[in-house]
Symmetry: C2
Subunit: 335 residues, 2 copies
Amino acid sequence: MTDSPDVSARRVTRADVARFAGVSTAVVSYVLNNGPRPVAEDTRRRVLEAVQMLGYRPNASARALNLGTTSQICLIAPGVSNPFFAWLTDRVEAEARARGLSVVIVTSADESIVEAVSRVSHQSIDAVMISNEVPATDLAALGRSGIPTILLNQPADVVGMRSVNVDRYRGARFAVEHLVGHGHQSIGYIGPVGPQETRWRGWHDSLESFRLPEGPSIEAVYSREAGYRAAHELTALSDQPSALFVASDELATGVMLGLHEGGVRVPEDIALVSFDGTQETRFSIPPITSVTQPVDEMVRHAFDLLTTEATSEVIRLVPELVLRSSCGCPPRPSQ
Amino acid sequence: MTDSPDVSARRVTRADVARFAGVSTAVVSYVLNNGPRPVAEDTRRRVLEAVQMLGYRPNASARALNLGTTSQICLIAPGVSNPFFAWLTDRVEAEARARGLSVVIVTSADESIVEAVSRVSHQSIDAVMISNEVPATDLAALGRSGIPTILLNQPADVVGMRSVNVDRYRGARFAVEHLVGHGHQSIGYIGPVGPQETRWRGWHDSLESFRLPEGPSIEAVYSREAGYRAAHELTALSDQPSALFVASDELATGVMLGLHEGGVRVPEDIALVSFDGTQETRFSIPPITSVTQPVDEMVRHAFDLLTTEATSEVIRLVPELVLRSSCGCPPRPSQ
DNA sequence: CTGAAAGCGCTAACAC
DNA sequence: GTGTTAGCGCTTTCAG
């Protein structure tokens, strides 16, 4: 009646189960996989019993080898300490689980994306989702890996590459339009700067459409630190903007502290809108108005694309501006 | 000179490489694995060239089947949206990568840990690290999975189970001692409550040692929401404590907002110390004094334990109180 | 409804 | 220094 098998014993295989149940190995497979051939109810029971008794656990590697599929996908991301990627990662894991897949995570904060991809290509993985921003030059190497790949949260459309992302340009415009709509005439920007940067461009073009002067634009990479320093730069400026569009929540966290230390109050002295819409924005002091990414939807689409024939399909979703206190507009009570 | 192989072609195997290079499959293995037999420099070059030409990528499943090892470990955690687990996950991934392993993540926020473990046990995984708090009843099932397991960040010591964690009890005492040392006589607690809860006990016992009355203790699960609500409960109390020990950073984030809304200033009206020491504490407003976990060290020990003979070894590290503004003591300039 | 057997792609004895 | 070959544990076709 001992149900915990000897630990030191050779691992139980399908052959052991077959022997114990008095059937062939094929039947064991039929039972365990519910097919592809039918099995008599009685036999099935015997097999299941043997499995129990022996404490048999199938060997996933053998199965993968045979089937040519591992039921594992890989998520490449800069890391999960950034709350947006944490959010994304949690959603990817949940969705994968719902579809019977598991997720291998690969962080590529300090190494090139090519190396990350190459590392992944040495594992047997059914598909890869890349949520890093991939430099154009690395794209070719990426495609050559041979593994079905889908770009997640990647701003640029890439030829021949499936991609699910959010229209950051429009998101940025939403933010600026909202601020302008509430009377702001001088709107600054903190984040990656340049014509390649969709959020910067959205901010820039939007101001142009409104024939407003371009507020100060301070370059910052995606980190709390960078936001913090940028805010200090900003408060040192002679002409302060009345509002600020910050390219990510993570940045915004740092910006808020920097402004606070500089004696600049949000939203009284400066209105602030950020981009991402993670949990942090809800519990920041004050809570931050943020262009919120439809992460659930994005992830669902990504998985759907995986089971799709089309080799090149781009899905672009529209983010939504969620109002909280940081922009000075009366936010809904609890958001 | 076309180096991108036909996509629709059957995947190239080691046999193809061998044929192309005019050697046996064994030699290909010897080259690719740098052993176990020596290979003539010239032959090696030919093989490597063939690999290049054919775009050969080894099949990890086959390798795993043969070797009985996958070079994958699994990290079970409640999820990465909690900044502490995000931190932990990033460190685990980095350390794994440094050791040539990859990590599959399994989130078990909404399912029982037993199910998570069972799911993991159907994958071929070399080892599992569990950073959830595992109910005692589930421990047996866990051990029976047969996969080398190590408890990460688990407060309780478990017989026959390797474990790396932090002395939360002492950590909590550090927090309270610090607050008492700075004149606080009424110190409250927010977090999981009860004699099982090491942080609660640390707070409780510490007050007892100082012969101080027990401040208000408000139960809260680990979420920003819960912290937020707890803070509102606290501000509604007739006798406010002058200081607060909060069981986690994530909770603290919510608490800070709740206090803010209740018109209670930190640290002027109430000093606050939390537990974990994630990035968020540095960029909170004000920055939060926190009992900081030695995550790097913890993770390194965990991996070391994996390659260790000892089946039951417990490593308990000591956290460190990192001073910031939230407790009202003059913090070092930039921490 | 059940069984025998041929691989899946790789590693590493073991021969030469 | 190189080649032959027997598996690793599983799935599934093809015969019964």
